[in-house]
Subunit: 184 residues, 2 copies
C-alpha cells in the first residue's frame, strides 16, 4: 500500500514487501481457519518463515494485522466474484461454488465474511471498516438490484456459516443444497 520514501533501505524493498505480503497472506489463511483468538502472532510469523520478534517491524499490533488480513481476504473474494460474473458460461455458478462442500470444508481458502464476520462484529471500528469496504465492493459483483445483492449475500453467508456449525454431514449438505435451491 504505502511505501515510505527513505534515503536508505539496506534490505531490498521488494523482498521486504514480499515478506510483508506473506505475513498478511498466512495470517488471513490461519485466521479464517481458526479465528483471530486461536492464532498467535508467533504462529503467523513462523508460517511466513520468520520469528516472532520481527513482527513489530511490519505491524504495530496484532489488531493491525487482523485488519490487514481481513482487507486482503476481502480483495481475494472480490476478485473471485468478479471473475465469476464476467465468465459468461458460468452464469449462476457463483452461488453454487460458494455453497459447495469444498468451500464449507476449506475455510482457510474461502470467504472471509463466512469465516470471521462474528469476530469482526466484536472488534475495532478499523476492522469493521475493512470488512465493510470489502462487502461494498463485492455487492456490485453479485449483480442485480442492490437490495437483492445484499439479500443473496446474507443468504449465502448464512448458509455456509450454518453448514459449518452443525455436526451431521447429512444436515450440513442439506443446508447447502436448500439455500442453493431457493436462490437459484
Amino acid at each position: 500500500m504505502e511505501v515510505a520514501i527513505r534515503k536508505f533501505m539496506r534490505y531490498p524493498v521488494e523482498e521486504t514487501a514480499a515478506k510483508h505480503e506473506r505475513i498478511v497472506k498466512e495470517a488471513s489463511r490461519l485466521f479464517r481457519e481458526r479465528g483471530f483468538e486461536n492464532v498467535s502472532v508467533g504462529e503467523v510469523m513462523k508460517a511466513a518463515g520468520l520469528t516472532h520478534g520481527a513482527f513489530y517491524a511490519h505491524f504495530g499490533s496484532k489488531e493491525e494485522l487482523q485488519t490487514a488480513a481481513v482487507a486482503y481476504g476481502q480483495k481475494v473474494s472480490l476478485g473471485r466474484a468478479q471473475r465469476s460474473k464476467s465468465n459468461k458460461k458460468s452464469k449462476g455458478s457463483f452461488a453454487d461454488r460458494y455453497l459447495s462442500q469444498w468451500h464449507r470444508d476449506n475455510p482457510g481458502d474461502g470467504c472471509t465474511m463466512a469465516a470471521l464476520a462474528q469476530e469482526v462484529a466484536r472488534s475495532t471500528p478499523e476492522l469493521k471498516a475493512a470488512f465493510e469496504q470489502g462487502l461494498e465492493e463485492i455487492l456490485p459483483a453479485i449483480g442485480g438490484e442492490r437490495k437483492e445483492a445484499i439479500f443473496q449475500a446474507a443468504a449465502m453467508i448464512g448458509g455456509v456459516v450454518l453448514a459449518r456449525a452443525v455436526q451431521s454431514p447429512r444436515l450440513s449438505d442439506e443446508i447447502l443444497w436448500s439455500v442453493r435451491q431457493e436462490l437459484g
Copy 2:
C-alpha cells in the same frame, strides 16, 4: 438435566440447581456478547455471584459450559420462535423482530446462532451437536416447507451477522431492511 440420587446432599438441591442454571444463563449471555474466548470462567462465576473455584463442582471444563450455554440459548430461541408462530396476529413478524435494530444491538439477549455459529464451527463435536439440535427444533417453528425454513434461517442469520459486522450504521440498517424486504 440429570439429578443424581445421593444419600447426602448437605446443600439444598433446588438451590444448587438454581446456581447451576444461573451459571449457564450468565455464561450464555456473556458468550453471546463477547464470544467464548473473550469470557473467562472467573468472569462467568462472578456474574453468577460465585467465585471461580466453585466452577468445577458444576462443570468438568469450560468446554462443557460452552456446550450447556449453547443448548440453553437454543432453547430460549426455540421458545421465542414458537411463541411467534402461535401468535396469530403477529404473523410474519418473527423475521421483523429477528432483523430488527434491537436484536442487532443486543446480542447478549439475542439468537445464539447469530452470535456464536462461527466459533461453534471450530469447536468440539458435542458443541456442534448442541447447536444442531437447537436448529433442528427451531426449523419447524419457522414453518413452511423444510427447504424454505432452512433458507429463511440462513438469510435471517446471515443478515444479522452482516449487520453487526459493518461499521456504518447506515449500511447496517440497509442490510436489515433489505433482508426483511426480500423475505417478506
